[in-house]
Symmetry: D2
Subunit: 470 residues, 4 copies
């Protein structure tokens, strides 16, 4: 899947640091957010605690842009800091929705960064409003934060345990008070969260690539239902009540979201993707002259396919790495042309060739349809599509931005119909079992809801209408 104007969005990346010595905690978070930038490009924020004070800066755009021009320098030194990157919706006025959420309440000053999505937000929000709470943003993360405060009786860990007993959905939280860093992962472990250490610091991050970025050593993943508290007396854990036995991490983390140099639940994302390519070759072979991936995310899988099949890996598509947010498409009429600008067929490599294209997933199918057309225009004789995951048939309310059935090419179409709709010579997906088997090295079970409709939470837990606050 093309990663710039892509079709699936992760909700967020979170990062936190508690330091015994190093005062440059804002800097550590900045580097960490940088490594997690792929998890959200809409906004970035860092909050720093120093003595009994807390300060923060949030802005729209990439972390590097938000903290350029002196914004970073305005952050103080401190003992604890957390940060957040958020994915893009629309509108500059959405700055109010950037995280961390920072406020003063019963536990003193407090900051919360959240990756995930609640499914009973409206119910909780109404309940809190009835108890005199007010909400200044439209994000469920504020609901979590205010609930924690409200239920805390001044003891934040108490507040977290009580709040977690009421909130349903996915949540990897990094929470900070003036003297504590706290990491929380929902009882199913739907979103990833891991711990690392340096000589002086404890670090928590959505993915291990962010530990590497700050030269921290990987310690372990936060467990489903675990609350890790770091303060001057060290690190300790508490657990939520009633943790379901079975963890259900979102398998899309392996398929697409996570950086391929991250290791989740003991298993390398790179390995999972390569294995997916191999399985595609094994179960859905096709005679062809070359195999290629949609850059950059499907390249590893494409090489797996090549290895397994013996068909040479040859790049069919070159991506313009400078296409970003400010790229304008001056003329509606030429919008067709825009894929040419973002991606280009390597004409010399594919002319008169039978081409296999690997992609991680298909949501709407719009981009894939254009890629196929571009390849044919460039002289490809056949174009066969192989997808490293099953058909997406259901919306997701736990963190992937797929909201309605109508957005999904796979909601009402089978492989053959999809193939016809895309204009490919063949289209094959991994089955659910096959996908799961690519992740067999992972120390977790999986949520496969978007493929098979089976979500961790029972249907009655979901609010009928997805909360639309804006």
């Amino acid at each position: 899947m093309d990663d710039i104007q892509n079709e699936i969005h992760e909700e967020c990346g979170v990062f936190g640091v508690f330091s015994q010595e190093n005062r440059n905690v804002a800097q550590t978070v900045y580097y960490g957010l940088f490594a997690l930038q792929h998890r959200g490009q809409e906004s970035a924020g860092i909050a720093v605690a120093f003595a009994d004070k807390m300060t923060y800066y949030k802005g729209m755009g990439l972390a590097a842009d938000v903290f350029a021009h002196g914004a970073f320098d305005a952050l103080p030194e401190g003992d604890v800091a957390i940060g957040h990157v958020r994915y893009s919706t629309t509108g500059a006025s959405q700055l109010l929705n950037a995280q961390p959420v920072v406020f003063t309440g019963k536990c003193g000053k407090m900051a919360v960064a959240h990756n995930g999505n609640l499914i009973n937000t409206k119910r909780l929000r109404d309940e809190m409003i009835a108890q005199n709470a007010v909400f200044q943003t439209t994000i469920d993360s504020e609901v979590i934060a205010i609930m924690i405060n409200s239920l805390s009786d001044g003891d934040i860990v108490q507040g977290i345990k009580r709040a977690c007993a009421k909130i349903k959905g996915s949540y990897a939280l990094v929470i900070m008070t003036c003297d504590k860093l706290i990491a929380v992962r929902d009882p199913y472990g739907i979103r990833p969260l891991c711990l690392g250490t340096t000589d002086s610091d404890v670090v928590v991050a959505s993915e291990t690539c962010a530990l590497d970025a700050v030269s921290a050593n990987f310690l372990r993943d936060v467990k489903p239902g675990e609350i890790v508290i770091v303060d001057d007396s060290g690190m300790r854990s508490e657990f939520m009540d009633n943790i379901p036995g079975q963890s259900r991490m979102c398998i899309f983390e392996y398929v697409y979201f996570a950086r391929h140099d991250s290791v989740l639940e003991g298993y390398s994302v790179y390995e999972a993707r390569k294995e997916a390519g191999k399985l595609l070759a094994k179960y859905y072979p096709v005679e062809a002259d070359l195999v290629s991936g949609v850059p950059d995310s499907a390249n590893v899988a494409a090489r797996g396919y090549a290895e397994e099949s013996g068909i040479p890996f040859v790049e069919a598509l070159a991506k313009n790495r400078y296409v970003g947010r400010t790229f304008i498409q001056p003329d509606q009429r030429q919008r067709e042309n825009s894929l040419n600008v973002k991606m280009n067929a390597l004409r010399a490599n594919i002319r008169d060739k039978r081409v296999i294209i690997i992609d991680d997933s298909i949501v709407r199918g719009t981009t894939m349809r254009r890629i196929i057309k571009m390849l044919r225009n460039a002289g490809a004789r056949e174009v066969h599509i192989r997808i490293c995951s099953p058909i997406i048939k259901h919306p997701c309310h736990l963190g992937i931005d797929i909201q309605t059935y109508s957005q999904l090419i796979g909601a009402y179409k089978n492989e053959e119909q999809i193939c016809e709709s895309l204009g490919a010579d063949s289209v094959r997906y991994l089955s659910v079992d096959q996908l799961v088997s690519t992740c067999k090295g992972a120390n977790t079970g999986f949520c496969l809801g978007c493929f098979n409709g089976e979500y961790p939470y029972p249907p009655e837990d979901y609010e009928t209408d997805k909360l639309k606050l804006e």
Copy 2:
């Protein structure tokens, strides 16, 4: 008093509109804020309600700058809108403190704009925190807003009445829900607030000059302790309980804050200033060749002095009207020079002349000291200072940014000592009675606390340490 890098700051200006027909309520507020810009240049914000939605935009700087570059165009049409301009402290990160405060709570969506200053903020805030409230900003206006919500039981007017029974200090409030515009003035009427109408709209504003700016007709001032509610069924009033008989408007509104084309409590600001000049001439005459005002704010008074004394009004000082916020003083060493850049002596007018300089007030004395030096350098033979108000001897906690005795040249010095400190030939102030007599046309009593230490609220109401949240 020089008005660019001046020594006293008003806290804010507020504006609101409820419209039966005209959908361009944001525009009306924009024009209104423009006319109130002199009351605050740090930040500006507008919130608009349309159907059951509410949206807003806030930014640092002048209203014209905040709403340039498409920000204004992003505001929707609506039925109700309020706006706010705030005075400048420091730091770009203070965007969080810009108003209106907007949130969702028991009364649905709600926005609050506040001019004034509470004196029991910390107490109230702690009380609210104990009841699970959280505070995302450091401004007392948020405390008021959250308190109103909390005490409302869903009926905002109820909430306002109950909150006003607890909060102490100065407050002119403009509040909006999705179907109501509400104007509130504290029981002493410390800050001004007035009502106006057009064919289709009801308008509320800090000063009448903002009514003029939107071509609204002046209706009346909001009364001390009054709560004016405007909705589809028209305009109605409620009153707080226990309103003290005697109103106590801040007399500095006449002296310096308000625009001289505004009419407060039935009395023209222009008239008050001119009268102050006349009284200075009557009671504190001095032989001189010319009289001049510190531009722009003291020009009217200077002309009053000239009229009364027969001494010709001749401009002694020219102000560079382009000195604004972005003006940098490149070199600390040349800071002395910066007054030359902001203000220049009209050499030809003052050489060998005995000069009377009128100013509205003196706070630190720094600017006046430099002006006197500049006039002498330009050849003035004598420099006599006449001030349109009494010596400021006490801090103010009700809306003027004078926080400590140490900032005040008049706290420990009498006229003679001030004269010596400034290097003038003579310095005379109006007495408190004289100042009050310049405002005798006004339909209100006055707070004179900064002159005589007598504040509307009894001493025990004031928090010992002025709340320092940041």
Copy 3:
């Protein structure tokens, strides 16, 4: 005349400094430009020479904005520096037309800042192009600069003398090489230019207010046709050949352009304006209750009128001093309203009064028409207009932005017709002789072309079509 979105534009302000000791020459120029800001708000630029290098920074907008955000700090220390402010036309792309013009040529590095307007630009430009010159901008100042280089044979003073023999029009030039500061004024002295000194520096500026701003002492005006050269060996003068005996400074400098604290040709601008008001009272009396000026520029004259007539000066109009370039008029329909935002009638002062309004000049009449309407709406019984200059009947090609007859309300109308068109009760202008007599203290003759059509240069010198390069 209202000075923000005014109807007449000066072309530019120029400033230069040569320093023996003080290395902060850029800062001196920055302060100087600040004081000359009223002469041009479109763009600002500073060039600095240090050793054999030259660097510059130019930008769109006010000097304070252009040099904010680090741009000033990027300028090096140096020995010589010049600067320029330019009036506003349209479009961000006009940055290329900002001055100074800086280049490397026969005289080494060279920078030129120009106030004025040539009348034979096209002819000169074509001539230079035929000799292989190229022009990267569309301004006549580049033509002057390239011509000087071309005719210099490496001796810049030679180049200036030869170029001045060919160029016709108005020009006050400040020119810099790596070791010289040169001031040049056209043979008629149409634009002002003066010299000042500090202990270490020689300074040249369009007006004396800029000398004051940098604490320089006024030395003398540059003479018409004079070339003042300042370098390590001191200051010396050369003169152009064939200087006409009679100087012809633009009288609008006194009427409107210059700051009223400047002294031009030995005569105070303030004095000239006050005298204009007095003459209006003497020759064009009218019974009235009060006299007021259009702020800010006509206030001095209005006080002159009041003094002479005995009719009290009372402010009728208040100006919003925050209306600047970024002020947007959101809705075309409400454009009528925009004058209310910029200016407001002091209702209390004028109700049922017979009002005399003084203004410096009338160009199109649009603003004056609205002011009169606003005064009548505010209750004025009569509105009498008195103008401190004669009817503008002719375009100007020497520096004022009046290009065509059709822009001028006075081109085809007499006083009575103008009065009717504006909706005033009476309108009277000073005669040409009267205006001249207000400036009788000035050590110069005047160009009165826009009033009487008599320009310094004979008609055959003017290019038929005003050069339109863009």
Copy 4:
């Protein structure tokens, strides 16, 4: 070689379009520049000719950023347009050096965009200055442009031919007058330039990937010494006098500069890179567990190595694709850490492995040294470096930003010493002959000056001191 803060910089990319019908020429250029963005990220500019007018916009940064926020929309429709992207030096003030160079001269309005570097700039510039020319920038492209004008006698093609007879160095030029688009390539063809067509347009671009981006069909490369003129009467060619028989394209275009989906001189860049990897495997084999490339530029070569050697291609390094210009390194002390942020070792893939790393070239060696250290820290047992080009031993004055011997790790070290300096287990480079053989499909000879010191121009043509204008 890491491509963000890389060690070698291409000078520029050029693009032009002449259209018979399509008026959106600015848009075509915008898309073209986008595809050429890898050739220069410092500044971007587009000039458009319409009727007898010409307008342009230039700015600092990526094309997408420069033309965002309305800048693109301000460009008019037209018949001809050219554009340019330039590589990064330092300083915002360098806007003056952005291209195209646009001016009015003997040939009317004219715009020039240049990719390459002259070696006799100073001589030519002095010669032109002696003939009264002035230079407003410090770029050699302005020298070319002014020379063309000067020698043209109004016939631009004449001017080009005469100028090309005098200028020495590398130059691919795209030139525009109001009715012509002209493409020029230096007699050695050192920089690439190619022609394409659509139904209505003729297009010229540095690389074919830009033709693809605007859906143009590749027509042919511009020939060394050729001047292609496109106007209403069609396309025609002229040739410079004395074209050396042997073309000498910069071989670094294949090694690193060009996008791997471009085809230069009939030969695919992708193919050349893959072949380089194969030759490295063939001639410099080493026992290892995996081979990987420094992303992104060396990945193709690494796959060639893998194919030839049978050693599996496994990614060892992951690149953070969000590291761009605004990325700040907050603390000098942590600069060591910055490579971690830009690049990360895939720990799981390389632990205890013998790793071969392929890179296109080594300049200073700084980045490679850090990569090797990072790989060892991540557990690599051996790290073998294979470079797709020979040791860079000499500076380049023809378009690569390698200015002095001291910058080059290979200037005074042989392979063994480089290996030791980098801390690798082995380092091997392709020989010059081997590199040339990877490009044997190309229809051109090569400049190999940076490898063997043999430049196209004889030593006496080079100016002793490389021109330093700034």
